[in-house]
Amino acid sequence: GQQVMQIPQYQHVQEGEDFTTYCNSSTTLSNIQWYKQRPGGHPVFLIQLVKSGEVKKQKRLTFQFGEAKKNSSLHITATQTTDVGTYFCAVVQGGGADGLTFGKGTHLIIQP
């Protein structure tokens, strides 16, 4: 099945600074999803990227899918305390299995 490497594992930023998390695969992905999990909460869907080179924006969040469809990034501009949480990328497992394979996540910690 698909494997995805997500970096960094932890990111400490000052409030107002930017934040980026990366998701990389050794194989071409058909699509990629991003989820956010607040502390003590459950994952919540943010976005799905399908097309090569796709860029989608949600307010301060910018999502990119690489041209080769092997990597993706989530960038947050001017972080706020409400952005605290863990951001996961997820891909369909493939190889006959249909669950989602999640990256290990990037924990975003914001210092006021």
């Binding site: 099945g1 058909s30 459950h42 869907f45 369909v92 497992q93 249909d98 669950g99 989602l100 999640f102």
Partner: protein, 114 residues
């Protein structure tokens, strides 16, 4: 219902006992998934149901784990002879269609095996 419902929200059990975790998906969703999340870790895929098809059990960690989905709706995840390493949050998700459709997660069941 309005969202994915899981019960119980917390379960404390003794090593060796069996436990049953329940998931009630969003009405009309054909796909249902179970994941396991250990403290501070990512999500580990366990099992996936699509409609009335045989489930994809490729992620079940051992034969002590089993799951069923009755009538294409409610699902039960059963762990037999629980071990301390089974302690985790068990998350259920549902989606309207098969992957890569958007998954909606329940609040999870926190299982503690003493």
């Amino acid at each position: 219902g309005a969202g994915v419902s899981q019960s119980p929200s917390n379960k404390v059990t003794e090593k060796g006992k069996d436990v049953e975790l329940r998931c009630d998906p969003i009405s009309g969703h054909t796909a249902l998934y179970w994941y396991r999340q250990s403290l501070g870790q990512g999500l580990e895929f366990l099992i996936y149901f699509q409609g009335n098809s045989a489930p994809d059990k490729s992620g079940l960690p051992s034969d002590r784990f089993s799951a069923e989905r009755t009538g294409g709706s409610v699902s039960t995840l059963t762990i037999q002879r629980t071990q301390q390493e089974d302690s985790a949050v068990y998350l259920c998700a549902s989606s309207l269609f098969a992957p890569p459709n958007i998954q909606y997660f329940g609040a999870g069941t926190r299982l503690s095996v003493l």
